[in-house]
Symmetry: C2
Subunit: 264 residues, 2 copies
């Protein structure tokens, strides 16, 4: 927690961060499948057009208490099912909803095609880290199962991906945002906060996105620090393009205060 | 992930770790209260002497999927209530069980009397870190609310506290186990794994302990590296006693392989 002595930041990319869910491996598909099953169960009790919206309203209201992840989502599904059915739903059907949550937690890790090769190619040129959001226990299990852990210099599992989180992580690496690029599918969580800090981003959209992750405003004047990739195979070239731009830029001193973890 | 070059470890304590739940602030009391309420709800359906054991059996079976924390515990309570009542429990009563979980998540952080002064006194002599287990989101909220975060050099929220976890944390600090002492209420999570690595421990029992945390075998020949404290006020003297013993010991080279997070 020492105050940093300002000194010029050398230009160039020093660290590339990767998101986990829907960037390295499939995730949203499993949530969508659970939600569809939830709607089928509830449809046995009520004939409503807005079941989906009512579930999301309860999920959203619970986020501040539960945080992200399958366990909180399951509790929200149970609460929504009870509310939507006027408490008429049976205990057996509520057990089916608990089981939907367990199915999400148990699903095998399904890597996106070509992602291992893409991460390995980028890791050959840059230090890479994994910065993933959600439930610590579930994310750790997915990282373990993915077989990708060895490619990453560090695994950061965080409860929220905002500018404060990225600033903390960069502080621990003693890097300025101008030396960091983030690769991910969510404009809100992976791209916007990093661009806002002065970093770089590669957006690789996933075929489905949770509504919560779709609200994002990119800071003005940051388009030059953003690349897009349609598939993992396009990631190495996108990062190389950012690295070239970063090497050519003279960002001045944007180094963050040091927050390294080593004891003095 | 570089291999460490072996070199002698200077004797002496360099880092003191503190557990969170039931060491800095009350936790188990809230789980016990929720469990008592759970048993009262279920008692409206069945008259069983072993409700408590059946709940723990389901909780324990779900630990490998849910990990620790209030959300997993709430899902286990829901599942147990459905199983114990033969699915006769109403949706309204299941909502009451969801609310028990929310009550745990919402309870204000209640510091143990004297703990702030004890941590501050120890922090004046040693680097201190917080190493707490459980749900990332809930633990972060408790750390924030505790008002103690500024005393700690780093906050580590982990999914399990075993020898592997402590070895990783020490690796990130580039310290040998002989330079580290852990303070906590759980012999299983806070004391036994640290002693097994070659570190030091201060056990401060809490007035109630979750049955899962009571199973622990202390490694043979480690009694000299363990102190007990009945209250937070006794912690500084206990740590000072360990520090004196550590300064007098010649542990040789037990430094762990380096796993620091800074990029090369």
């Amino acid at each position: 927690m020492d105050a940093a002595t300002p000194f010029p930041t050398p230009p160039g990319l020093r660290l590339v961060g990767f998101d986990g869910d829907d960037t390295l491996w499939r995730s949203e598909d499993y949530y969508r499948a659970a939600q569809a099953d939830f709607e089928r169960i509830v449809a046995n009790y009520v004939d409503l057009a807005d079941v989906h919206e009512r579930l999301y309203a309860i999920e959203h209201a619970n986020l501040a208490l539960f945080g992200y992840g399958a366990k909180g989502m399951t509790l929200s599904m149970i609460e929504a099912a009870i509310a939507i059915t006027g408490a008429r739903i049976t205990a057996s059907d509520l057990q089916r909803i608990v089981d939907l949550g367990k199915t999400i937690l148990r699903h095998p890790v399904d890597l996106l095609p070509g992602i291992r090769e893409a991460v390995a190619a980028i890791a050959a040129e840059h230090e890479v880290v994994l910065i993933t959001k959600g439930d610590l226990f579930h994310q750790e299990a997915k990282v373990r199962e993915s077989g990708l852990a060895d490619l990453f210099r560090r695994i950061e599992i965080v409860s929220e991906k905002d500018a404060g989180t990225y600033a903390r992580v960069l502080g621990e690496f003693d890097l300025a945002p101008s030396q960091f690029a983030m690769v991910g599918n969510s404009l809100r969580s992976d791209i916007a906060p990093v661009l806002a800090l002065g970093g770089w981003g590669v957006h690789m959209p996933y075929h489905v996105t949770w509504v919560h992750e779709t609200h994002a405003e990119l800071p003005d004047g940051t388009a030059a620090r953003l690349r897009a990739a349609a598939t993992p195979a396009e990631l190495p070239a996108a990062v190389a393009s950012l690295a070239a731009a970063a090497a050519a830029s003279t960002p001045g001193d944007t180094r963050l205060p040091s927050a390294t973890g080593a004891p003095a």
